[in-house]
Amino acid sequence: MAVKTFPKIDVYAGAPEKKYTLFMLMLGFIALMVGTLFGPLQAFNYGGLDLYPFLKPVFQSYYQGLTIHGVLNAIIFTQLFGQAIMVYLPAKELGLRPNMTLAWVSFWMALIGLLIAALPLLGNAASVLYTFYPPLKAHWAFYVGAALFVLSSYVSIYLVLEMWSRWKRANPGKITPLATYMSVTFWLMWFLASLGLVVEALFLIAWSLGLVAGVDPLLMRTLFWYTGHPIVYFWLLPAYTLAYVTLPKLAGGKLVSDPLSRLVFLLFLLFSVPVGFHHQFADPGIAPYWKMIHTILTMMVAVPSLITAFTIAASLEVAGRANGGKGLLGWIGALPWNNPTVLAFLLGFLAFIPGGAGGIVNASFNLNQNIHNTVWIPGHFHLQVGTLVTMAAMGTAFWLIPHLTGKPLVARGMALASQWLWFLGMFIMTFSLHWMGFLYAVPRRSHIAGSPIAMEAYRESSAWMVLNIVSGVILLIAAILFFYVIYATALQSRRDPERVMSEVPFSEVISKPEGSSLALMTERVWFWFGIAVVLVVLAYGPVLFQMFTNMNPVPGQRLW
């Protein structure tokens, strides 16, 4: 049999940013793969099926696995995906190259930080979950590695702001192109948002190194949630950006409104941060009226997602009609469901509807007291980050890896199947987790299958538990299919640039920014950043001032 040889092409010669993006992306997917390994085991746990005794020689406990799951999926994968997408898209849109030296610095910071934090995680010296609430005290390397990893994102902030100002200087008076606008507001939001975690990390590092004897758990929680809420927008906005700037085109249509899309990102810049007390409704030490203020602000931050729901749905309708769909719902069937990228986004957004509704419940102060820290919460956020964000990333990988490498997608059918199964599995699991939390107060983060006391206490929810086992099996298959597709694509030796998308599929828009007063208003980014800072100072300043001046440090504990 003749072996077909392909000419050797150096796809990165003229585009080193592609290599950087590919590395960030693949490192993120490796993290996702390892983190996701534990997912089905956790679903089995909430089905009363305990497989952890079999992991014993390698992994010591459910909680060690859960820490790895949360850290790798929700912190490592999400951030690396953001660093890939939100640097690459503006670079392509502006036709500029990011400072490549610094781009690689950010990659190495992330990788080294990840490795440093991985050692104590794998050694069971940091089984403190991805929220690492003191007084649970991890090995110092966990905090140091995590800090280095997060600081890598500051380099990304610089990369994008620098490209943006280069473009501004070359194009005075012009409105920032859309993807770049989204990226700039995204990174500024993250800068403001991350400060809480950075300050917390200073305390934790000093504490874990023995420089201070204790830390104040309430202050640490407050600093954590200062970042902990906006971090979910940090996860979400790369998916939104892709949905705004690429999905309409991939689906065969156009984005309906450019100015409104900018407004969405501006609202996220303004309202993402000053809302963290909705994670502390159950905390003593924060007065109820402060919690009420954050409730109202949290409701405000639902607005940009409501607008997004409309804009994306309208753009998809435009696409469906352009493809020949007729009637009230005919456009839905006319969408390219056989395109795995489009499919991933469609299903992800479908899951986002109940996910968003649950989010509004969580934000509603007194309703929250019903479901706080029950499995309702992981039920809720697997619709958001576990489904929409992850599926947006998986779907994007199906064109982005070929685009970056020149290697065509393999096993398209498997890619499609992986997305249907992922959606189905998540849907079943989140459905059951919601009800188990709401009806039977089953707690989250709990190795119930390993505890006869717990299984007895929650026995009434056993019908729902069966669904968790079913979903765990489905999700395991979905994950195997997905990771097979992307690794087989990335690792094949065939390069065939003719058969891959050579350009980023930026959508055309119907309502243009030129001449729009809304677009002009949103363009004053630094002014709005100033307003965002003021909002944060108002919503957090008095409480934090009081906490900093009345610290009550507590010694650390290692109870695993």
Binding site: S257, D283, S511
Partner: protein, 160 residues
């Protein structure tokens, strides 16, 4: 498509207004319920030295006290249980819990009620509730507190 555009923008504006109106209604409802339906949001009663919880003061002697027609309970949530081990109340009488932890953070969630407290070392949380229905209620730790977390389930008994 171009004439379509104006229609879309009109709907869009209507949708945003609808969203804002819905949120306003939610906020009003939340405020109303908080004021009228028996606020069970935990507040801070005091700060305390977590290292002395087991040896000094009210929490070294965890107990339920009857004060007139009401109860006061001093509860220690520790890894991995609650003290007092057994809490009994009469239905229809108000209970005020004071809860703290000598070690790490815990949860204090009473099944079928709005009681859901983050127990933070160094803080004394205070929450009041009137149990209406007699029966046994699971008292559940819902904040990860170490290897025995799943076993940290207790009972509250409400007698008729």
């Amino acid at each position: 498509m171009e004439q379509h555009e104006h229609v879309i923008e009109r709907y869009e504006r209507a949708w945003i207004l609808f969203g804002l109106a819905m949120i306003t209604v939610f906020i009003i409802l939340i405020g109303y319920m908080m004021l009228t339906m028996g606020n069970t949001n935990p507040v801070s009663a005091a700060r305390i030295d977590a290292t002395k919880v087991r040896t000094e003061g009210d929490f070294a002697n965890p107990r339920v006290e009857q004060v007139g027609n009401e109860y006061v309970a001093y509860v220690q949530a520790f890894s991995f249980g609650y003290l007092p081990m057994e809490m009994k109340f009469k239905a229809g009488q108000k209970v005020t819990f004071y809860i703290t932890s000598p070690d790490v953070q815990h949860g204090f969630k009473v099944e079928n009620t709005n009681i859901n407290v983050q127990v933070i070392p160094g803080e004394v949380a205070k929450v009041s509730y009137t149990f209406k229905k007699p029966g046994e209620y699971n008292l559940i730790c819902n904040e990860y507190c170490g290897i025995g977390h799943a076993n940290m389930v207790s009972k509250i008994v409400v007698e008729p």
